[in-house]
Symmetry: C2
Protein backbone atom coordinates (compact mmCIF):
# COMPACT_ATOMS: atom_id res chain seq x y z
CA UNK A 1 0.00 0.00 0.00
CA UNK A 2 1.39 3.45 -0.92
CA UNK A 3 1.42 6.45 1.40
CA UNK A 4 -1.31 8.11 -0.67
CA UNK A 5 -3.48 4.98 -0.54
CA UNK A 6 -3.02 4.81 3.23
CA UNK A 7 -3.94 8.47 3.62
CA UNK A 8 -7.01 8.00 1.38
CA UNK A 9 -8.14 5.12 3.56
CA UNK A 10 -7.62 7.23 6.70
CA UNK A 11 -9.75 10.04 5.27
CA UNK A 12 -12.46 7.64 4.14
CA UNK A 13 -12.73 5.92 7.53
CA UNK A 14 -11.89 9.05 9.56
CA UNK A 15 -9.61 6.78 11.52
CA UNK A 16 -5.93 6.04 11.97
CA UNK A 17 -6.59 3.17 14.35
CA UNK A 18 -4.42 0.06 14.25
CA UNK A 19 -5.73 -3.02 16.07
CA UNK A 20 -3.07 -5.24 17.62
CA UNK A 21 -3.87 -8.92 17.09
CA UNK A 22 -1.96 -10.46 20.01
CA UNK A 23 -3.99 -13.53 20.94
CA UNK A 24 -2.73 -15.03 24.19
CA UNK A 25 -4.02 -18.61 24.49
CA UNK A 26 -4.61 -18.18 28.24
CA UNK A 27 -6.79 -15.12 27.73
CA UNK A 28 -9.04 -16.47 24.95
CA UNK A 29 -12.76 -16.53 25.76
CA UNK A 30 -13.44 -20.07 27.01
CA UNK A 31 -16.20 -20.82 24.50
CA UNK A 32 -13.69 -20.53 21.62
CA UNK A 33 -11.49 -23.38 22.85
CA UNK A 34 -13.74 -25.98 21.15
CA UNK A 35 -13.00 -24.56 17.71
CA UNK A 36 -10.56 -26.31 15.37
CA UNK A 37 -8.35 -23.24 15.42
CA UNK A 38 -9.30 -21.04 18.40
CA UNK A 39 -6.64 -18.43 17.62
CA UNK A 40 -7.85 -17.87 14.08
CA UNK A 41 -11.48 -17.91 15.18
CA UNK A 42 -10.71 -15.25 17.81
CA UNK A 43 -8.92 -13.10 15.21
CA UNK A 44 -11.65 -13.60 12.65
CA UNK A 45 -14.33 -12.32 15.00
CA UNK A 46 -12.18 -9.41 16.19
CA UNK A 47 -11.49 -8.42 12.57
CA UNK A 48 -15.15 -8.62 11.58
CA UNK A 49 -16.15 -6.55 14.59
CA UNK A 50 -13.55 -3.80 14.17
CA UNK A 51 -12.88 -3.48 10.44
CA UNK A 52 -15.31 -0.58 10.09
CA UNK A 53 -13.23 1.45 12.57
CA UNK A 54 -9.65 0.39 11.86
CA UNK A 55 -7.34 1.15 8.94
CA UNK A 56 -4.56 -1.18 10.08
CA UNK A 57 -3.99 -4.48 11.86
CA UNK A 58 -0.82 -5.52 13.62
CA UNK A 59 -0.33 -9.15 14.67
CA UNK A 60 2.59 -9.44 17.08
CA UNK A 61 4.42 -12.50 15.79
CA UNK A 62 5.53 -13.70 19.24
CA UNK A 63 1.99 -14.77 20.11
CA UNK A 64 1.90 -17.09 17.09
CA UNK A 65 5.42 -18.46 17.42
CA UNK A 66 4.67 -19.41 21.02
CA UNK A 67 2.26 -22.01 19.60
CA UNK A 68 4.70 -23.57 17.14
CA UNK A 69 3.75 -24.51 13.58
CA UNK A 70 0.03 -24.42 14.47
CA UNK A 71 0.46 -20.81 15.53
CA UNK A 72 2.24 -20.03 12.30
CA UNK A 73 -0.69 -21.54 10.36
CA UNK A 74 -3.14 -19.39 12.34
CA UNK A 75 -1.03 -16.35 11.43
CA UNK A 76 -1.10 -17.26 7.74
CA UNK A 77 -4.87 -17.71 7.85
CA UNK A 78 -5.25 -14.39 9.67
CA UNK A 79 -3.26 -12.42 7.12
CA UNK A 80 -5.24 -14.05 4.31
CA UNK A 81 -8.47 -13.14 6.06
CA UNK A 82 -7.66 -9.47 6.61
CA UNK A 83 -9.47 -7.17 4.18
CA UNK A 84 -7.11 -6.25 1.34
CA UNK A 85 -7.70 -2.54 1.83
CA UNK A 86 -6.33 -2.59 5.40
CA UNK A 87 -2.70 -1.88 6.19
CA UNK A 88 -1.20 -5.09 7.57
CA UNK A 89 1.80 -4.79 9.90
CA UNK A 90 3.92 -7.73 11.06
CA UNK A 91 5.08 -6.67 14.51
CA UNK A 92 8.18 -8.80 14.42
CA UNK A 93 11.01 -6.47 15.49
CA UNK A 94 13.40 -8.37 13.24
CA UNK A 95 16.80 -7.44 11.72
CA UNK A 96 19.94 -9.41 11.05
CA UNK A 97 22.93 -9.31 8.68
CA UNK A 98 21.82 -8.37 5.15
CA UNK A 99 21.62 -11.90 3.78
CA UNK A 100 19.37 -12.89 6.68
CA UNK A 101 17.22 -9.74 6.75
CA UNK A 102 16.44 -10.59 3.13
CA UNK A 103 15.02 -13.89 4.34
CA UNK A 104 12.80 -12.10 6.88
CA UNK A 105 11.61 -9.72 4.15
CA UNK A 106 10.75 -12.78 2.06
CA UNK A 107 8.86 -14.32 4.98
CA UNK A 108 6.68 -11.31 5.71
CA UNK A 109 6.37 -9.59 2.32
CA UNK A 110 6.31 -12.52 -0.14
CA UNK A 111 5.25 -15.54 1.86
CA UNK A 112 2.54 -13.66 3.77
CA UNK A 113 1.83 -10.39 1.96
CA UNK A 114 2.17 -8.05 4.93
CA UNK A 115 2.42 -4.36 4.02
CA UNK A 116 4.98 -3.58 6.69
CA UNK A 117 7.28 -5.09 9.29
CA UNK A 118 8.72 -3.58 12.47
CA UNK A 119 12.54 -3.57 12.57
CA UNK A 120 15.14 -3.27 15.32
CA UNK A 121 17.91 -0.74 14.48
CA UNK A 122 20.82 -2.08 16.55
CA UNK A 123 22.67 -3.86 13.71
CA UNK A 124 22.65 -0.81 11.43
CA UNK A 125 22.20 -0.07 7.76
CA UNK A 126 22.73 -3.43 6.08
CA UNK A 127 20.25 -5.03 8.50
CA UNK A 128 17.56 -2.43 7.73
CA UNK A 129 17.75 -1.68 4.00
CA UNK A 130 16.66 -5.19 2.87
CA UNK A 131 13.18 -4.23 4.12
CA UNK A 132 13.05 -0.95 2.17
CA UNK A 133 13.41 -2.02 -1.45
CA UNK A 134 9.99 -3.65 -1.99
CA UNK A 135 7.32 -1.79 -3.90
CA UNK A 136 4.42 -0.61 -1.72
CA UNK A 137 6.03 -2.29 1.32
CA UNK A 138 7.32 -0.60 4.45
CA UNK A 139 9.90 -0.97 7.16
CA UNK A 140 8.91 0.45 10.56
CA UNK A 141 12.01 1.15 12.62
CA UNK A 142 12.00 1.12 16.43
CA UNK A 143 13.03 4.57 17.67
CA UNK A 144 11.63 5.50 21.12
CA UNK A 145 9.58 2.58 22.41
CA UNK A 146 6.85 2.64 25.03
CA UNK A 147 8.26 0.24 27.63
CA UNK A 148 10.14 1.03 30.85
CA UNK A 149 13.39 -0.46 29.51
CA UNK A 150 13.35 1.94 26.58
CA UNK A 151 15.23 4.43 28.75
CA UNK A 152 18.13 2.05 29.37
CA UNK A 153 19.79 2.81 26.04
CA UNK A 154 17.51 4.74 23.66
CA UNK A 155 17.91 8.07 25.50
CA UNK A 156 21.68 7.88 26.01
CA UNK A 157 23.44 11.00 24.77
CA UNK A 158 25.86 10.16 21.98
CA UNK A 159 28.87 11.87 20.37
CA UNK A 160 29.74 14.72 22.73
CA UNK A 161 26.18 14.76 24.03
CA UNK A 162 24.97 16.26 20.76
CA UNK A 163 21.85 14.10 20.51
CA UNK A 164 20.09 11.10 21.96
CA UNK A 165 20.62 7.63 20.52
CA UNK A 166 17.09 7.40 19.12
CA UNK A 167 17.50 10.83 17.49
CA UNK A 168 20.73 9.66 15.87
CA UNK A 169 18.98 6.50 14.66
CA UNK A 170 16.18 8.53 13.11
CA UNK A 171 18.60 11.00 11.52
CA UNK A 172 20.85 8.32 10.01
CA UNK A 173 18.14 5.95 8.90
CA UNK A 174 16.06 8.69 7.27
CA UNK A 175 18.73 8.62 4.54
CA UNK A 176 18.40 4.87 4.05
CA UNK A 177 14.77 5.18 3.03
CA UNK A 178 12.19 7.89 2.60
CA UNK A 179 8.68 8.78 3.81
CA UNK A 180 7.24 6.36 1.25
CA UNK A 181 8.89 3.22 2.58
CA UNK A 182 9.96 3.95 6.15
CA UNK A 183 8.00 4.65 9.34
CA UNK A 184 9.12 4.90 12.97
CA UNK A 185 7.83 3.47 16.25
CA UNK A 186 7.34 6.14 18.92
CA UNK A 187 5.64 5.00 22.13
CA UNK A 188 2.54 6.90 23.26
CA UNK A 189 4.40 7.33 26.57
CA UNK A 190 6.93 9.50 24.70
CA UNK A 191 4.64 12.40 23.82
CA UNK A 192 7.29 14.90 24.99
CA UNK A 193 9.58 13.65 22.23
CA UNK A 194 7.04 14.12 19.44
CA UNK A 195 7.73 17.85 19.02
CA UNK A 196 11.43 17.37 18.32
CA UNK A 197 10.81 14.23 16.27
CA UNK A 198 8.33 16.08 14.06
CA UNK A 199 10.98 18.77 13.54
CA UNK A 200 13.40 16.05 12.41
CA UNK A 201 10.97 14.09 10.24
CA UNK A 202 7.88 16.15 9.42
CA UNK A 203 6.61 13.79 6.73
CA UNK A 204 7.14 10.23 7.94
CA UNK A 205 4.35 8.14 9.36
CA UNK A 206 4.77 7.18 13.02
CA UNK A 207 3.40 3.99 14.53
CA UNK A 208 2.32 4.79 18.08
CA UNK A 209 1.75 1.85 20.45
CA UNK A 210 0.69 2.16 24.07
CA UNK A 211 -2.57 4.07 23.72
CA UNK A 212 -5.53 2.47 25.48
CA UNK A 213 -9.13 3.57 25.50
CA UNK A 214 -8.17 6.81 27.30
CA UNK A 215 -8.66 9.91 25.16
CA UNK A 216 -6.16 12.07 27.08
CA UNK A 217 -2.96 10.59 25.73
CA UNK A 218 -4.48 10.29 22.30
CA UNK A 219 -5.15 14.01 22.20
CA UNK A 220 -1.53 14.80 23.09
CA UNK A 221 -0.29 12.34 20.46
CA UNK A 222 -2.51 14.00 17.84
CA UNK A 223 -1.62 17.54 18.84
CA UNK A 224 2.11 16.96 18.41
CA UNK A 225 2.17 14.05 15.96
CA UNK A 226 -0.35 14.70 13.17
CA UNK A 227 0.98 16.04 9.89
CA UNK A 228 -0.64 17.02 6.59
CA UNK A 229 -1.10 13.41 5.51
CA UNK A 230 -2.14 12.35 9.02
CA UNK A 231 1.25 10.69 9.58
CA UNK A 232 0.05 8.60 12.51
CA UNK A 233 -1.07 5.05 13.07
CA UNK A 234 -2.16 4.63 16.69
CA UNK A 235 -2.24 1.07 17.94
CA UNK A 236 -4.30 -0.51 20.67
CA UNK A 237 -3.98 -4.23 21.36
CA UNK A 238 -5.13 -5.50 24.75
CA UNK A 239 -7.50 -2.55 25.29
CA UNK A 240 -9.53 -3.74 22.32
CA UNK A 241 -9.13 -7.49 22.00
CA UNK A 242 -9.58 -8.19 25.72
CA UNK A 243 -12.30 -5.59 26.34
CA UNK A 244 -14.38 -8.57 27.49
CA UNK A 245 -13.41 -12.20 28.14
CA UNK A 246 -16.97 -13.48 27.66
CA UNK A 247 -19.01 -14.50 24.65
CA UNK A 248 -19.51 -10.81 23.88
CA UNK A 249 -15.77 -10.21 23.34
CA UNK A 250 -16.22 -9.17 19.72
CA UNK A 251 -19.02 -6.67 20.48
CA UNK A 252 -16.96 -5.28 23.34
CA UNK A 253 -13.98 -4.92 21.02
CA UNK A 254 -16.14 -3.15 18.44
CA UNK A 255 -17.32 -0.70 21.06
CA UNK A 256 -13.81 0.27 22.17
CA UNK A 257 -12.67 0.55 18.55
CA UNK A 258 -15.65 2.70 17.70
CA UNK A 259 -14.97 5.03 20.63
CA UNK A 260 -11.35 5.45 19.52
CA UNK A 261 -12.43 6.03 15.92
CA UNK A 262 -14.86 8.75 17.02
CA UNK A 263 -12.13 10.49 18.97
CA UNK A 264 -9.79 10.20 16.00
CA UNK A 265 -12.39 11.66 13.64
CA UNK A 266 -12.60 14.65 15.96
CA UNK A 267 -8.85 15.15 16.11
CA UNK A 268 -8.52 14.78 12.33
CA UNK A 269 -11.09 17.51 11.70
CA UNK A 270 -9.55 19.74 14.40
CA UNK A 271 -5.86 19.39 13.50
CA UNK A 272 -5.93 18.37 9.84
CA UNK A 273 -7.04 21.27 7.72
CA UNK B 1 22.40 -27.10 29.66
CA UNK B 2 24.45 -25.59 32.51
CA UNK B 3 27.76 -23.78 32.04
CA UNK B 4 29.61 -26.72 33.63
CA UNK B 5 27.87 -29.20 31.34
CA UNK B 6 28.78 -27.09 28.32
CA UNK B 7 32.40 -26.86 29.44
CA UNK B 8 32.52 -30.65 30.05
CA UNK B 9 31.25 -31.22 26.53
CA UNK B 10 33.86 -28.82 25.13
CA UNK B 11 36.64 -30.69 26.93
CA UNK B 12 35.31 -34.07 25.82
CA UNK B 13 35.10 -33.09 22.15
CA UNK B 14 38.09 -30.72 22.25
CA UNK B 15 35.88 -28.34 20.32
CA UNK B 16 33.90 -25.16 20.81
CA UNK B 17 32.50 -25.23 17.29
CA UNK B 18 28.96 -24.12 16.61
CA UNK B 19 27.46 -25.05 13.22
CA UNK B 20 24.99 -22.55 11.79
CA UNK B 21 22.02 -24.31 10.20
CA UNK B 22 20.88 -21.63 7.71
CA UNK B 23 19.41 -23.61 4.82
CA UNK B 24 18.70 -21.33 1.88
CA UNK B 25 16.29 -23.08 -0.48
CA UNK B 26 18.12 -21.72 -3.53
CA UNK B 27 21.45 -23.13 -2.38
CA UNK B 28 20.31 -26.66 -1.50
CA UNK B 29 22.03 -29.48 -3.42
CA UNK B 30 19.70 -30.24 -6.33
CA UNK B 31 19.35 -33.95 -5.56
CA UNK B 32 17.63 -33.11 -2.25
CA UNK B 33 14.71 -31.28 -3.86
CA UNK B 34 12.86 -34.58 -4.45
CA UNK B 35 12.63 -35.26 -0.73
CA UNK B 36 9.36 -34.68 1.15
CA UNK B 37 11.09 -32.09 3.29
CA UNK B 38 14.35 -31.00 1.58
CA UNK B 39 15.23 -28.52 4.35
CA UNK B 40 15.02 -31.10 7.09
CA UNK B 41 16.84 -33.69 4.98
CA UNK B 42 19.66 -31.19 4.36
CA UNK B 43 19.90 -30.42 8.08
CA UNK B 44 19.73 -34.09 9.04
CA UNK B 45 22.69 -34.97 6.84
CA UNK B 46 24.70 -31.92 7.98
CA UNK B 47 24.05 -32.82 11.62
CA UNK B 48 25.04 -36.47 11.13
CA UNK B 49 28.20 -35.42 9.33
CA UNK B 50 29.34 -32.80 11.84
CA UNK B 51 28.11 -33.92 15.26
CA UNK B 52 31.45 -35.52 16.12
CA UNK B 53 33.16 -32.13 15.75
CA UNK B 54 30.58 -29.62 17.00
CA UNK B 55 29.31 -28.87 20.50
CA UNK B 56 26.58 -26.49 19.37
CA UNK B 57 24.12 -25.89 16.53
CA UNK B 58 22.53 -22.58 15.66
CA UNK B 59 19.58 -22.47 13.24
CA UNK B 60 18.94 -18.91 12.10
CA UNK B 61 15.16 -18.65 12.31
CA UNK B 62 14.82 -16.34 9.27
CA UNK B 63 15.64 -19.18 6.89
CA UNK B 64 12.71 -21.21 8.22
CA UNK B 65 10.21 -18.35 8.47
CA UNK B 66 10.90 -17.49 4.83
CA UNK B 67 9.21 -20.80 3.95
CA UNK B 68 6.06 -20.25 6.03
CA UNK B 69 4.48 -22.96 8.18
CA UNK B 70 6.38 -25.66 6.27
CA UNK B 71 9.62 -23.98 7.26
CA UNK B 72 8.49 -23.83 10.85
CA UNK B 73 7.75 -27.58 10.76
CA UNK B 74 11.24 -28.24 9.35
CA UNK B 75 12.67 -26.21 12.23
CA UNK B 76 10.70 -28.22 14.79
CA UNK B 77 11.88 -31.48 13.25
CA UNK B 78 15.47 -30.21 13.20
CA UNK B 79 15.49 -29.27 16.87
CA UNK B 80 13.97 -32.65 17.75
CA UNK B 81 16.65 -34.38 15.69
CA UNK B 82 19.63 -32.59 17.24
CA UNK B 83 21.50 -34.81 19.73
CA UNK B 84 20.39 -33.91 23.26
CA UNK B 85 23.96 -33.37 24.42
CA UNK B 86 24.54 -30.52 21.94
CA UNK B 87 23.92 -26.89 22.82
CA UNK B 88 21.03 -25.67 20.67
CA UNK B 89 20.85 -21.94 19.90
CA UNK B 90 17.87 -20.24 18.25
CA UNK B 91 19.46 -17.39 16.32
CA UNK B 92 16.35 -15.26 16.41
CA UNK B 93 17.53 -11.81 17.58
CA UNK B 94 14.20 -11.26 19.31
CA UNK B 95 13.11 -8.89 22.11
CA UNK B 96 9.92 -6.96 22.76
CA UNK B 97 8.03 -5.52 25.74
CA UNK B 98 8.10 -7.92 28.71
CA UNK B 99 4.72 -9.53 28.06
CA UNK B 100 5.76 -10.30 24.48
CA UNK B 101 9.34 -11.39 25.22
CA UNK B 102 7.73 -13.96 27.52
CA UNK B 103 5.90 -15.33 24.49
CA UNK B 104 9.16 -15.62 22.54
CA UNK B 105 10.77 -17.40 25.50
CA UNK B 106 7.83 -19.79 25.48
CA UNK B 107 8.23 -20.36 21.72
CA UNK B 108 11.92 -21.21 21.84
CA UNK B 109 12.41 -22.70 25.33
CA UNK B 110 9.13 -24.56 25.93
CA UNK B 111 7.63 -25.19 22.50
CA UNK B 112 10.96 -26.17 20.94
CA UNK B 113 13.44 -26.91 23.74
CA UNK B 114 16.28 -24.71 22.53
CA UNK B 115 19.03 -24.10 25.12
CA UNK B 116 19.54 -20.48 24.14
CA UNK B 117 18.17 -17.63 22.06
CA UNK B 118 19.92 -14.55 20.66
CA UNK B 119 18.43 -11.24 21.85
CA UNK B 120 18.52 -7.66 20.59
CA UNK B 121 19.28 -5.14 23.38
CA UNK B 122 17.63 -1.99 22.02
CA UNK B 123 14.43 -2.15 24.10
CA UNK B 124 16.29 -2.55 27.41
CA UNK B 125 15.90 -4.50 30.61
CA UNK B 126 12.25 -5.62 30.56
CA UNK B 127 12.70 -6.93 27.01
CA UNK B 128 15.75 -9.02 27.98
CA UNK B 129 15.07 -10.45 31.46
CA UNK B 130 12.15 -12.69 30.35
CA UNK B 131 14.80 -14.84 28.64
CA UNK B 132 17.01 -15.16 31.73
CA UNK B 133 14.74 -16.80 34.30
CA UNK B 134 14.57 -20.31 32.85
CA UNK B 135 16.60 -23.10 34.41
CA UNK B 136 19.50 -24.30 32.23
CA UNK B 137 18.41 -21.84 29.50
CA UNK B 138 20.38 -18.89 28.16
CA UNK B 139 19.91 -15.49 26.63
CA UNK B 140 22.65 -14.40 24.19
CA UNK B 141 22.67 -10.63 23.86
CA UNK B 142 23.91 -8.85 20.74
CA UNK B 143 26.85 -6.61 21.69
CA UNK B 144 29.34 -5.97 18.85
CA UNK B 145 28.11 -7.75 15.75
CA UNK B 146 30.14 -8.84 12.72
CA UNK B 147 28.37 -6.93 9.94
CA UNK B 148 29.34 -3.63 8.30
CA UNK B 149 26.31 -1.83 9.77
CA UNK B 150 27.41 -2.72 13.28
CA UNK B 151 29.49 0.47 13.30
CA UNK B 152 26.48 2.71 12.62
CA UNK B 153 25.34 2.71 16.25
CA UNK B 154 27.15 0.10 18.35
CA UNK B 155 30.42 2.03 18.56
CA UNK B 156 28.91 5.43 19.30
CA UNK B 157 30.45 7.04 22.37
CA UNK B 158 27.82 7.61 25.05
CA UNK B 159 27.54 9.80 28.17
CA UNK B 160 30.39 12.28 27.85
CA UNK B 161 32.30 9.86 25.64
CA UNK B 162 32.99 7.63 28.62
CA UNK B 163 32.33 4.37 26.79
CA UNK B 164 30.95 2.88 23.59
CA UNK B 165 27.31 1.89 23.30
CA UNK B 166 28.08 -1.83 23.18
CA UNK B 167 30.29 -1.49 26.27
CA UNK B 168 27.45 0.23 28.10
CA UNK B 169 25.07 -2.53 27.03
CA UNK B 170 27.44 -5.20 28.33
CA UNK B 171 28.03 -3.34 31.60
CA UNK B 172 24.33 -2.74 32.30
CA UNK B 173 23.04 -6.11 31.17
CA UNK B 174 25.68 -8.03 33.13
CA UNK B 175 23.64 -7.06 36.22
CA UNK B 176 20.41 -8.40 34.72
CA UNK B 177 21.81 -11.90 34.50
CA UNK B 178 25.03 -13.71 35.30
CA UNK B 179 27.61 -15.93 33.57
CA UNK B 180 25.29 -18.92 34.05
CA UNK B 181 22.37 -17.58 32.02
CA UNK B 182 23.76 -14.82 29.80
CA UNK B 183 26.20 -14.83 26.89
CA UNK B 184 27.15 -12.09 24.40
CA UNK B 185 27.54 -11.97 20.62
CA UNK B 186 30.90 -10.53 19.54
CA UNK B 187 31.69 -10.71 15.83
CA UNK B 188 34.92 -12.39 14.78
CA UNK B 189 35.65 -9.18 12.90
CA UNK B 190 35.86 -7.41 16.29
CA UNK B 191 38.96 -9.14 17.63
CA UNK B 192 40.41 -5.78 18.74
CA UNK B 193 37.51 -5.39 21.15
CA UNK B 194 38.01 -8.76 22.82
CA UNK B 195 40.76 -7.56 25.15
CA UNK B 196 38.62 -4.84 26.70
CA UNK B 197 35.52 -7.03 26.70
CA UNK B 198 37.38 -9.78 28.56
CA UNK B 199 38.41 -7.18 31.14
CA UNK B 200 34.74 -6.24 31.56
CA UNK B 201 33.33 -9.76 31.60
CA UNK B 202 36.06 -12.34 32.23
CA UNK B 203 33.68 -15.23 32.91
CA UNK B 204 30.85 -14.98 30.38
CA UNK B 205 30.65 -17.16 27.32
CA UNK B 206 30.88 -15.28 24.01
CA UNK B 207 29.21 -16.44 20.82
CA UNK B 208 31.51 -15.51 17.92
CA UNK B 209 30.03 -15.53 14.43
CA UNK B 210 31.90 -14.64 11.26
CA UNK B 211 34.74 -17.18 11.36
CA UNK B 212 35.16 -19.18 8.17
CA UNK B 213 37.55 -22.01 7.47
CA UNK B 214 40.52 -19.62 7.87
CA UNK B 215 42.66 -20.41 10.93
CA UNK B 216 44.13 -16.91 11.26
CA UNK B 217 41.13 -15.13 12.70
CA UNK B 218 40.34 -18.10 14.87
CA UNK B 219 43.75 -17.88 16.49
CA UNK B 220 43.25 -14.21 17.33
CA UNK B 221 39.79 -14.93 18.72
CA UNK B 222 41.22 -17.69 20.91
CA UNK B 223 44.22 -15.69 22.08
CA UNK B 224 42.08 -12.83 23.38
CA UNK B 225 38.77 -14.57 24.03
CA UNK B 226 39.42 -17.90 25.77
CA UNK B 227 38.93 -18.03 29.53
CA UNK B 228 39.32 -20.76 32.15
CA UNK B 229 36.08 -22.45 31.16
CA UNK B 230 36.75 -21.90 27.45
CA UNK B 231 34.15 -19.12 27.32
CA UNK B 232 33.83 -19.23 23.54
CA UNK B 233 31.44 -20.71 21.04
CA UNK B 234 32.72 -20.02 17.53
CA UNK B 235 30.15 -20.29 14.78
CA UNK B 236 30.54 -21.12 11.12
CA UNK B 237 27.48 -21.34 8.90
CA UNK B 238 28.00 -21.00 5.16
CA UNK B 239 31.65 -22.10 5.34
CA UNK B 240 30.47 -25.51 6.53
CA UNK B 241 27.01 -26.15 5.14
CA UNK B 242 27.83 -24.93 1.62
CA UNK B 243 31.35 -26.38 1.46
CA UNK B 244 30.04 -28.28 -1.58
CA UNK B 245 26.78 -27.96 -3.50
CA UNK B 246 26.97 -31.47 -4.89
CA UNK B 247 25.94 -34.88 -3.59
CA UNK B 248 29.02 -34.85 -1.38
CA UNK B 249 27.84 -31.78 0.58
CA UNK B 250 27.71 -33.66 3.88
CA UNK B 251 31.21 -35.13 3.53
CA UNK B 252 32.53 -31.71 2.53
CA UNK B 253 30.84 -30.17 5.58
CA UNK B 254 32.36 -32.84 7.80
CA UNK B 255 35.80 -32.08 6.45
CA UNK B 256 35.57 -28.33 7.15
CA UNK B 257 34.13 -29.00 10.62
CA UNK B 258 36.90 -31.49 11.37
CA UNK B 259 39.58 -29.01 10.30
CA UNK B 260 38.11 -26.34 12.59
CA UNK B 261 37.84 -28.83 15.44
CA UNK B 262 41.51 -29.80 15.05
CA UNK B 263 42.52 -26.15 15.18
CA UNK B 264 40.35 -25.62 18.24
CA UNK B 265 41.85 -28.62 20.00
CA UNK B 266 45.26 -27.05 19.45
CA UNK B 267 44.21 -23.66 20.80
CA UNK B 268 42.52 -25.25 23.82
CA UNK B 269 45.67 -27.10 24.78
CA UNK B 270 47.82 -24.02 24.14
CA UNK B 271 45.76 -21.35 25.92
CA UNK B 272 43.70 -23.30 28.44
CA UNK B 273 45.93 -24.38 31.28
Amino acid sequence: MTRQQLFDKIKEKESFLCVGLDPDWNRLPKHLLDHDDPIFEFNRQIIDATKEYAVAYKPNIAFYEALGSKGWEALEKTIDYLPKNTFRIADAKRADIGNTSNMYAKAFFDQMDFDAITISPYMGQDSVTPFLGHERKWGILLAATSNAGSFDFQDLLVDNNSEKLYERIIRKSADWGNPNNLMYVIGATRVETLISIRRQIPEHFLLIPGVGAQGGDLEQVCKYGLNKQCGLLVNSSRGIIYASDGEDFAEAAAQVAQTLQHQMAGFLSRYLK
